[in-house]
């Protein structure tokens, strides 16, 4: 008979152990077992990016990661992006430039933007549009999201 795993992770810098089925989606582990509800489910098939998190530093769709493959991993979710009360420059830029409307894609979009700026600190608009293409937003037409990410890049590089 299948058994639950004792799944140990470093979650936003804190060691956590939860008991999860090996084929449970990391998304469900994050939301239900770790109680971090900022990570959203939009499609459940890796298309919308609302469930994006960092797993061992890499941006992934948490709906497509079985729990067993997160054993021992370092996990960062949207809750770990701000440093206490201090927003990350990406979050600040999303506020300032209207990058969030209904907000349901926003956590995933912020994760994707942080990922993009880590590997491409001075992106062109085309880089941003390519870098965020795995995150669907139905509200904005992406203009203000692109503006937000470009502004965040500038505020960091200044």
């Amino acid at each position: 008979m299948p058994e639950k795993l004792a799944l140990s992770l470093e979650v936003n810098g804190e060691a956590r152990t939860v008991h999860a089925w090996p084929m449970a989606r990391l998304l469900d582990v994050i939301r239900e077992d770790l109680g971090l509800r900022g990570t959203k489910e939009g499609c459940g098939e890796g298309e919308c990016g609302a469930c994006s998190v960092f797993l061992n530093g890499r941006l992934v769709n948490s709906c497509l990661v079985p729990a067993v493959q997160a054993q021992g991993a370092m996990l960062q979710t949207i809750e770990g992006v701000a440093k206490g009360e201090a927003l990350d420059p990406v979050q600040q830029a999303f506020l300032q430039h209207g990058g969030a409307q209904c907000g349901i894609c926003t956590p995933g979009m912020v994760m994707a933007a942080v990922d993009l700026l880590q590997r491409c600190p001075e992106p062109s608009e085309a880089d941003v549009r390519d870098g965020l293409a795995g995150n669907l937003c139905r509200c904005t037409g992406y203009v203000k999201i692109v503006d937000s990410v470009m502004a965040a890049a500038q505020s960091v590089s200044r």
Partner: protein, 747 residues
């Protein structure tokens, strides 16, 4: 605080910080209440027929399940809307393939899914209809006597011999497809039904009082025993206008049967796309007469909508579509017949624009077809015929506002460099390059607020209250669904009271705490409800002034102290305002004559496209959206609304195709229903012109739906110019359809 103006500032979204940090609480994010069960829906899977039996399969501990059927309904098993024809749960027959028949609940979601799959419903299939043409032919009647939900006639002027003597009579037929709203948060609701408290629902929804009304009928309960609370809502676009009534009823029925244990129903993406409402598909036949100079003489139109299996909102979608069908033009003669027709698809519903995008697509596309056939420039054809102050619209409404449509058109075209690019593209296209380029545009309007007598019928109420801290809290049922309601209300109230917007809060919509300010639809929240909120705020201030606690002029600190003192002394401070129709607005639902809307937002959108003739793919390389919207309350939020609507409009024009198979959506996945990614869209350019409107707060009009109307005709008109053929007349103009269109033998 003289000189402080909140309106016109890009104030940061009120709930923005919660959204960017992931702290905002959507329906599925709230901690699970004790005893929570999950609910699931068993659906017909047959488009039309008679239910002959239900079998519960082996291997499922059925005694652990809560099971609800139509027999369990305590009140009326009909969703209270315009016509009460849609059951919450099918009784003896089904009329579409996603119709709910049985509800199941269990605490184990995985077992619940197994159980759902183990229920077998036997249905004796009957003939069904799936298209507008089949429904109109009425060889198979699936609703009423003739499949017609609603017919609207709009007649203006006497054609006389216009048709016989016109220099040009031009006809065309135009079609639009269904479109999925595709809010990124699927439908979600939690309900608790107990003997003590009645029914309480928390959900992702646009219209708390629609749900409230539906639940009252379903449970046969009085107003005060039904409570609806809107949670943070991850997009709506019309998709969470009427369907939440159905899903809330389902969850509440399960909770009732479960003895008051709370029940959560979450649709996954596939169920959400397949089972819930979409934009009405349309077919429009247009016949126009012009004189030798291109002046409009007469317009004849037949505007048909596929309403799906039940009436739901179709009559009002049809109404808005019919009223917008003539476009912003001075037709002396209009003869329009509009019908909403029944098919055995899931009911089509509200989606941004609400019928107007469909009919405006037809007329704006037709004008470019007509211009080409008459050998006229599409810009000059429109210039000769655009509405001016004093002109009479199709319903007899006289244009009283100083609208400058030729100027709006010219400035939009200038922003795109329409004329320069048109010449450059003509040269490019002559070069033999397989990528053909074109520019196109559309001029249009969108009526603000409910159609006709709708606002008078609603008689909405909104209010404000003072808090113990001396702040002002807005009380309205109008929901924040991403469009910026919270922020806009804050700015409107702050402006009215001359206090900083930080001193304004917005109550989370909860029918126990807020009055019925009407549904969050129809581009009405800012213009209509915002005005009520503004008036209520002024009433609140007057009450404080009259009490002697506040003297004008005052500072923000004076105001805050006075409000706090008032609340301390009297216990509460509330002021309300109710809508009443201004006396100069007159409308008749019988004759369809009069002032269809208090005012309109006016616009011209222009697109620059490239068509790769090797792949039939269309790229939108530049897009200008210029509109006159009264007064802009918050430029960043307003531009965000327009940009999002334009993106949805581009998707509707080119990619977003629902693949129907016998009334079912066969591509109900985000992988296979194609909305744009950031890589598919250009930088959308939004321009506002201001012309304050006395009906709205600080001169604002409604803008939510407007941006859906223009992109599709602008893009198809640009494609006509790129390819030198007027053949594309249907959307979504997928590469497959464009290929078929180009290779079709010419009529």
């Amino acid at each position: 605080m003289a000189g402080l103006t909140e309106v016109g500032r890009s104030r940061i979204r009120a709930e923005g910080r919660a959204k960017v940090t992931g702290a905002a609480v959507y329906t599925d994010d709230a901690p699970a209440p004790p005893g929570l069960l999950h609910g699931a829906t068993v659906r017909s899977q047959v488009p039309r027929g008679r239910i002959t039996g239900i079998t519960f399969g082996e291997g499922i501990p059925w005694d652990e399940f809560v099971i609800v059927s139509a027999k369990d309904v305590p009140g009326v098993n009909r969703v209270a809307m315009i016509v009460e024809d849609q059951p919450f749960l099918a009784e003896d027959r089904v009329n579409h393939p996603e119709e709910a028949i049985l509800l199941l609940a269990h605490e184990d979601r995985i077992l619940l899914e197994k159980a759902r799959a183990a229920v077998k419903v036997a249905i004796e299939a009957e003939p069904a209809v799936f298209t507008i043409e089949q429904s109109l032919a009425a060889e198979t009647v699936v609703w009423g006597q003739d499949n017609v939900f609603k017919t609207i006639r709009i007649a203006k002027g006497d054609a006389g011999d216009a048709w016989a003597t016109a220099a040009h009579v031009i006809e065309g037929t135009y079609g639009t497809g269904a479109q999925e709203q595709l809010y990124i948060e699927p439908h979600a609701v939690v309900a608790r039904t107990t003997a003590e408290e009645g029914v309480t629902v928390w959900g992702s929804l646009q219209c708390p009082y629609y749900v409230h009304k539906a639940l009252k009928h379903l449970f046969h309960e009085p107003d005060d025993r039904v409570r609806v609370i809107q949670m943070e809502t991850g997009g709506g676009f019309g998709g969470k206008e009427d369907y939440p009534s159905l899903i809330s009823g389902h969850a509440a029925l399960l909770s009732m049967k479960a003895g008051g244990r709370p029940v959560k129903i979450l649709y996954d993406r596939e169920e959400d796309m397949a089972a819930t409402t979409k934009r009405h598909p349309s077919k429009t036949r247009v016949k126009t007469a012009f004189d030798a100079e291109g002046r409009m003489l007469a317009l004849e139109m037949e505007f048909l909508l596929d309403g799906g299996a039940y009436v739901t909102l179709s009559p009002v979608v049809l109404s808005r579509g019919a009223i917008h069908a003539a476009g912003p033009y001075r037709w002396p003669v209009v003869d329009l017949t509009a019908k909403a027709l029944a098919t055995n698809c899931p009911p089509h519903g509200a989606f941004r624009g609400f019928g107007a995008p469909q009919s405006l697509f037809a007329i704006e596309r037709h004008l470019d077809v007509a211009a080409a056939r008459m050998g006229m420039d599409p810009v000059e054809l429109r210039r000769k015929n655009l509405l001016r102050i004093g002109d009479v619209m199709a319903t007899g409404q006289v244009v009283k506002e100083a609208v400058d449509l030729p100027g709006i058109m010219d400035r939009a075209l200038e922003a795109l460099d329409y004329h320069g690019r048109r010449a450059a593209h003509a040269a490019h296209n002559a070069s033999g390059d397989p990528v053909k380029k074109g520019v196109g545009f559309a001029v249009f309007m969108h009526g603000c607020g409910f159609t006709g007598g709708g606002e008078a019928y609603l008689a909405s109420v909104a209010g404000v209250e003072g808090t113990a801290e001396g702040k002002v809290r807005v009380l309205a049922a109008s929901t924040e669904i991403g469009q910026g309601t919270n922020t806009m209300f804050s700015q409107v109230v702050a402006e009215a009271l001359r206090i900083p917007a930080d001193l304004v809060e917005v109550q989370q919509p909860d029918t126990k705490l807020v009055p019925n300010s009407g549904p969050t639809v129809a581009s009405r929240t800012c213009m209509v409800v915002g005005k009520l909120v503004q008036d209520a705020a002024i009433g609140l201030k007057q009450a404080v002034v009259q009490s002697g606690l506040l003297k004008e002029p005052y500072t923000a600190a004076d105001f805050q102290a006075a409000v706090a003192a008032f609340v301390e002394a009297r216990g509460s401070l509330k002021a309300y305002s109710q809508y009443s129709t201004p006396p100069h607005i007159v409308w008749s639902d019988e004759t369809y004559r009069g002032d269809a809307y208090g005012t309109y937002a006016w616009a011209c959108y222009a697109a620059d496209v490239a068509v790769d003739t090797r792949t039939c793919e269309v790229a939108v390389n530049d897009f200008v959206a210029l509109q006159e919207v009264g007064r802009v309350i918050n430029p960043t939020l307003a531009a965000g609304q327009i940009e999002g609507g334009v993106a949805q409009g581009i998707g509707w024009a080119l990619w977003e195709k629902v693949e129907w198979r016998e009334g079912r959506m066969a591509n109900a996945q985000m992988t296979n229903y194609i909305m744009a990614t950031s890589a598919d869209l250009p930088r959308l350019r939004v321009l506002f012109e201001e012309n304050p409107n006395p009906l709205g707060p600080s001169g604002a009009k409604g803008i939510g739906e407007l941006p859906m109307d223009g992109p599709a005709p602008a893009i198809l008109n640009a494609i006509q110019q790129a390819l030198g053929t007027d053949a594309p007349t249907e959307i979504p103009l997928t590469p497959e359809l464009l290929l078929d269109t180009l290779e079709a033998p010419h009529a």
